[in-house]
Symmetry: C2
C-alpha cells in the first residue's frame, strides 16, 4: 500500500477536496487505503455498514441485485468519487453492492468518524448535499428512462454517460474497459439485446468498434436517441 502525500489526496479525494484545509490532516490520519483487484467485491448488499469509501484509483461499480443472476449497475465511481454514502442515516445495512471493475485503491473512513466530520465540518456537509442532489437528479432521470425509453436509447445514454465520465483515449475510444455484461447491466437490459443494439448502432454509423473498445462516430445522432420527441 503506497504512501500518499497530503497534496495528492487533496487533489483526488472527494472528502479532502471539499473539506476545510485544517481538517485534512485529521482525515488523512483516519483514512485507510485498500488495494482492490479487478472484480473484487468491496461490500455487498446486506452487509453491515462499516464506513464510507472513496476511489483513489481504479473504477468501482455500484450495483443492486435482483434474484440470483440479475443486477442493475447504478453508477460508476471513478477517481476522487465517494461511494457508500447512501448508507447515511439508514438501517445500518448496505442497500447496494460495490465491486471494482478496474483494479485500484480505495480509501475508507469509518462511519463514526465520517459522521463526526459531517457534524463539525459544515462546508463538507453542504458540498455533499449538493453532490447528493445531483445523484438524485441522475437517478430520477434513469428511473424515467427505464420506465419509458426503449433499450436503444438507454444504451445510447449509457455510452454518453461513460464518455462524459471517463473521456476518450487518444485514439478516440471511450476510456473504460467494460464487459458487455456490465454495459448491459448499466443500460438495464440483457446481454444479448445490448449486443444486437450495438450492432444496429454500428450499422447506422453511430458507433465504431475496435475489439472491445467503443468509439462514438456520430455524437449528435446518438444524443437524439436519448430524447423524447415522441
Amino acid at each position: 500500500m503506497k504512501k500518499v502525500t497530503i497534496i495528492e489526496d487533496e487533489k483526488n479525494c472527494f472528502l479532502c477536496q471539499n473539506c476545510l484545509k485544517e481538517w485534512i490532516p485529521a482525515i488523512l490520519a483516519h483514512k485507510k487505503n485498500y488495494k482492490v483487484k479487478k472484480g473484487e467485491v468491496i461490500f455487498r448488499e446486506g452487509d453491515p455498514v462499516k464506513g464510507i469509501f472513496f476511489v483513489k484509483s481504479g473504477i468501482v461499480k455500484v450495483h443492486k441485485r435482483w434474484g440470483a443472476d440479475k443486477e442493475l449497475i447504478l453508477r460508476f465511481a471513478s477517481e476522487g468519487l465517494i461511494f457508500g454514502h447512501r448508507a447515511l442515516g439508514g438501517d445500518g445495512i448496505y442497500s447496494i453492492s460495490a465491486t471494482a471493475v478496474q483494479a485500484g485503491v480505495v480509501s475508507y473512513v469509518d462511519m463514526e468518524f465520517f459522521d463526526a466530520t459531517l457534524k463539525v465540518n459544515t462546508n463538507f456537509t453542504y458540498d455533499l448535499l449538493m453532490f447528493m442532489a445531483q445523484d438524485l437528479r441522475i437517478s430520477e432521470r434513469k428511473m424515467r428512462n427505464l420506465a419509458h425509453m426503449p433499450v436503444k436509447g438507454r444504451v445510447a445514454e449509457a455510452l454518453i454517460i461513460l464518455k462524459d465520465q471517463f473521456g476518450l483515449t487518444p485514439e478516440g475510444f471511450i476510456n473504460i474497459e467494460l464487459s458487455r455484461q456490465d454495459l448491459a447491466s448499466f443500460s438495464g437490459a440483457t446481454y444479448e439485446t445490448v449486443f444486437r443494439v450495438i450492432n444496429e448502432l454500428i450499422q447506422d454509423g453511430l458507433l465504431v468498434l475496435s475489439g472491445k473498445s467503443i468509439s462514438i462516430a456520430n455524437y449528435n445522432k446518438l444524443l437524439k436517441l436519448t430524447e423524447d420527441i415522441a
Copy 2:
C-alpha cells in the same frame, strides 16, 4: 390564505421540524403559503428554479414526463414533506414537475434564503442530508424494480408504499384518493395493464375494492410479490 402559528409549523414542516428553535421565527417570516387546487401544477420540468417547497396540507406528486403523454411519478409528498430540493446545486432548471393531487396548502421559501439557511444552520443541513440519502435508497430500489421486477410486483410495491405513507381509513382502505392513471404512473406501467393486474390481485384475494378505494386483504402475499426469490 390562513395565518398559521409557529407551533403549527413546527409540527408540520420539514424545515421547521429539523431546524434550530431560534431560527424558526426567521424562517416563518420568509415562508409564503400558497393554496393549491387539485390538479394544479406547482412547477414544471424546465421551469427556472425559484425556491423550495413544503407541503402544509394536501398531497403533491413529483413526476417526470416522457414524450407528450407519458409520465413517471417519482414520489408523493404529503404533509410536512419537502419537495423541489432536488434542484439544489443544479443548473437552475427544475428537472421534475410537481402537481397537487389533493388540494391543500404548500409553503415556499426562495432559493437564496434556503441556501443561506443551509450554510448557517448546520443541524438542518445534516438532517436534510440524511433525508436525501433515504430518498436515494428509495430511488435506487425503484430503479432496480423498473429494470427487473414484473408489473405485478411493482403494483404491489406501489400499494404498500402508499399504505405506509398515507395509512388506512377507519374502514381499512388506503387513505389516498388516486386516479388509476396516477397509480399506473407511479407503478411505471400503463393504465390498462395496471387495471388488469389489480383485477388479478382481487381474484387472488390480495386486494378488496370499494369504488375507487383499495384495501389490502393479504399483506403478506402482497409483500411476497415484491421479493426477488427468483
